[in-house]
């Protein structure tokens, strides 16, 4: 008890004194935005990395052929000024003539063709290869400012992949002189983005400086320093002492408590990640099991109090969802069947299905234990006897691949891609995540990737999402929110796709 009082006293004294001292002015004074990231930054080349932190950094240091408008999810020009489909599998892209690399050299169509062909080359072993191999046959230079992309098949997400995944490199970057060097850009990145790398100490600190030769709109802040600080408490202390100006992935309670002081501002924005409950409708684990009955699956949907989960367990800007996609994604039709929280109706449906006494259900989960427990509690409340198995992601993946999971609480962030395709194919087509066993649904989802016509894609996704909802293959739960703590001096705009764009920050 004595120790507890001492701790409270220390914490209270710290807060009172820190409030009295007031917020630090370090960042604004030297026009340097100091950013904290828990994840170690080891490689600056997004063509060879995957995680969220690297996407954020790639936005700063690299430019892509196209941009994706975060508000409308529409494709915008960037390094490319325009594009034209010659036929379904031939795409001509015209480039700007004023794009420069950070070393001052001018970007050429040869650089663009080289980048794409290299990533498509199995020898590259790029993390982006899996994406590009889906659609690229080869790229060729067709003029002083034009590149032609030959596609292997119709692929409607080609421009999105170009806008989100492939960072442009100078010809020969990875295999100059015939020697393959996949880490050529890992530490000494030469990109085409609004910031250039000044210094980089892997796992410790990255210093970026505004690139004067950038072809687009210049960022307002001249310097960004990214520091790797693994402990969230230490990040918080750095923010309080003026050592950093921006931190993300902040737990809601911490964000709210520190955001209530003058030392920091709590910002909560949407995140493309959604949570959902996947049900073994196909009967892989039990061919005559209760989950193969649509009435049971609908009962499960009615049993879950998703608005309260969103409000109290996720918080911030999280919201309950009723579609098998994020509402901000292209093609995510919101007019599909919605199952309101209604435990009585859930019990009635279970009784109608012949399970008035309920049934045992093994429910798997790998993250957000509180939400997993809330799901289990809601299902228990309508009579389903839940055995919650909270495991590591890898264990869940292995068990799912062997079709040993009757139901699991999953989440998906769509890699930041605001398109239903980024979630539909992997969960309702030819992967082990698809527990629907619905071949017709799979055909719809795949058909939406065989046309470049946006209206046709929307129509196909509406049909697919409608079928998923009617058949209650999933119980969609909630969208996640992204919580940030920032310096009170910082303007940091939040985008609907949940991707932090530090290049759009400015000082107040």
């Amino acid at each position: 008890m004595q120790q507890l009082r001492m701790r409270d006293l220390c914490a209270a004294s710290a807060i009172v004194l820190a409030v009295a001292i007031g917020p630090a002015q370090a960042g604004k004074n030297d026009d340097t935005l100091r950013v904290a990231m828990a994840e170690e930054i080891l490689n600056l080349d997004y063509n060879y990395t995957t995680k969220r932190e690297y996407i954020i950094l790639a936005q700063l240091t690299d430019a892509t052929l196209f941009n994706i408008d975060p508000d409308t999810a529409e494709i915008e020009p960037s390094v490319a000024t325009s594009y034209e489909f010659i036929d379904d599998t031939t795409l001509d892209v015209t480039l700007r003539d004023d794009v420069r690399f950070h070393d001052g050299s001018k970007l050429t169509p040869e650089d663009v063709a080289y980048t794409y062909n290299w990533i498509n080359n199995p020898q590259s072993e790029s993390n982006a290869s899996g994406v590009v191999e889906r659609w690229l046959d080869h790229a060729e230079v067709t003029g002083p400012n034009t590149v032609r992309f030959h596609l292997t098949s119709v692929y409607p997400l080609v421009l999105r992949d170009m806008g989100a995944r492939i960072m442009l490199r100078k010809a020969g970057t990875y295999d100059a002189g015939g020697t393959v060097d996949r880490d050529a850009m890992a530490n000494r990145l030469i990109g085409t983005g609004p910031y250039k790398v000044v210094s980089f100490e892997p796992g410790t600190e990255l210093v970026l400086e505004r690139f004067d030769g950038y072809f687009g709109e210049k960022p307002a802040i001249s310097k960004i320093v990214v520091r790797n600080i693994p402990d969230i408490g230490t990040q918080q202390a750095e923010l309080m002492s003026g050592g950093v100006d921006w931190m993300f992935k902040v737990p809601l309670d911490l964000a709210e408590s520190l955001g209530a002081t003058p030392m920091a501002e709590h910002l909560s924005g949407p995140d493309l990640r959604i949570g959902f409950l996947v049900l073994d409708a196909a009967g892989y684990t039990d061919k005559d099991g209760p989950l193969t009955n649509v009435l049971v699956r609908r009962a499960i949907n009615h049993a879950l109090n998703t608005p309260e989960m969103a409000k109290f367990l996720v918080g911030g800007s999280a919201e309950a969802i009723h579609t098998a996609c994020h509402p901000a994604q292209f093609g995510c039709d919101q007019s599909v069947t919605a199952y309101q929280y209604d435990p009585e109706k859930a019990r009635a449906l279970l009784a109608e299905a012949g399970y008035e006494e309920g049934f045992p259900l093994e429910l798997w989960a790998y993250r957000d234990k509180a939400a997993a427990e809330a799901i289990a509690a809601d299902l228990e409340a309508v009579g389903i006897d839940v055995d919650l198995r909270y495991v590591k992601l890898e264990s869940l993946n292995q068990a799912r691949a062997k079709h040993e999971i009757p139901a699991y609480f999953g989440t998906w962030g769509s890699g930041g891609t605001a398109d239903t395709a980024a979630i539909a194919r992997i969960h309702f087509a030819d992967t082990d995540r698809n527990l629907s066993g619905d071949a017709e649904l799979e055909e719809m989802v795949l058909a939406a990737e065989r046309t470049n016509d946006p209206e046709e894609r929307k129509k196909l996704y509406s049909e697919a999402l409608g079928r998923i909802a009617d058949q209650a293959y999933w119980a969609p739960l909630f969208s996640y929110s992204a919580n940030y703590l920032v310096s009170p001096d910082l303007n940091f705009p939040l985008d609907p796709d949940g991707l932090p764009r530090l290049q759009n920050s400015s000082w107040k």
């Binding site: 995957t50 072993e125 880490d183 410790t204 693994p230 402990d231 202390a237 993946n397």
Partner: protein
């Protein structure tokens, strides 16, 4: 003595390999390195390509044998994340951890030995009770909590030291204190007990009769004998500081071996974890060996025995 050292060295290697074997299999059973490298949302094709690239699709015994074969020739493999030889990676990070461990040991010595000596010279006094109180508190407080408290007090509220980082000596003050504090109870108690025992010995009585008092008595006659077991403990504590710096380095964002170990374990970077375990085991056994040699050097009775 040489034979003894050689035997202990061999034992160190045996311990390191046993631990590495257990670590290798446990890490592979508990997690999927390919998935950990790719990230939570990576599509299956990316995970598979990583699995193939790093040879993670081969049977576990084959992979372990491969690793072992490499180690024999001094090749500890390449980090999945850093894409550089693990040996170079560990060498790069060792400076920070050595600095931190030695600073922490200095903190332990500076606090624990004077406090233990004062307590021993004034048994059952308020000084003794204060010293024991310090020892109990230091033992009860976990590192991560103490770390955050000293950050709030001495980096945020009274900004004397930096919150985190490892750019200057000032960055090491708080982490060295936190890491050093955890060893204070053991060293302080041992100093106190040892001194109380020695102070009751006949030769001390003789020394008193000859007129020795206070610091002179302590320095010339008591401390040398009382500190023999303390030296052993300090050597072991130094070994523990290397492995035990994981939490402290993470809290203070020090880019040393402890943080590397934590990140590597979380990311299932098996080659790095393997080498770190190997290094930590060797250091620990080496420190024990050093303690034995020091004791033998300081006390002729041990050499004869």
């Amino acid at each position: 003595m040489l034979r003894y050292i050689a035997m202990r060295g061999l034992l160190a290697l045996l311990v390191a390999f046993t631990v590495s074997l257990a670590t290798f299999f446990l890490l592979n059973v508990a997690t999927d390195p390919a998935q950990a490298i790719a990230g939570e949302d990576a599509p299956p094709e990316v995970v598979e390509s990583i699995r193939a690239r790093y040879g993670l699709d081969r049977p576990l015994p084959v992979r372990y044998a491969d690793w072992l074969g490499g180690v024999v020739t001094g090749d500890f493999g390449e980090s999945y994340y850093w894409h550089k030889p693990v040996a170079a990676l560990v060498a790069d990070r060792a400076d920070e951890t050595i600095t931190l461990a030695l600073s922490a040991l200095a903190v332990t010595i500076l606090i624990a030995i004077p406090l233990g000596a004062l307590a021993a010279l004034n048994p059952n006094s308020w000084i003794d009770r204060f010293a024991l109180g310090v020892a109990v508190s230091a033992q009860a407080v976990p590192n991560f909590w103490l770390g955050l408290i000293v950050i709030i007090l001495f980096a945020v509220t009274i900004p004397i030291f930096p919150v985190s980082g490892d750019d200057s000596w000032r960055h090491y003050v708080l982490p060295a204190f936190v890491l050093g504090a955890s060893s204070v109870p053991a060293v302080m108690r041992l100093t106190r007990t040892g001194l109380i025992e020695v102070m009751g010995a006949d030769y001390i009585r003789t020394a008193r009769a000859k007129g020795f008092r206070g610091w002179q008595l302590l320095h010339r006659h008591a401390l040398r004998n009382a500190l023999l077991p303390v030296i052993s403990v300090l050597a072991v504590q130094l070994g523990q500081k290397f492995g035990g710096s994981v939490i402290t380095e993470s809290i203070f964002a020090i880019n040393g071996l402890g943080r590397l170990a934590l990140e590597s374990i979380l990311g299932a970077d098996i080659p790095t974890v393997q080498m770190l375990i190997f290094v930590f085991a060797i250091v620990f056994v080496a420190m024990n060996l050093l303690a034995d040699i020091l004791n033998a050097a300081l006390d002729p009775r041990i050499r004869i025995g």
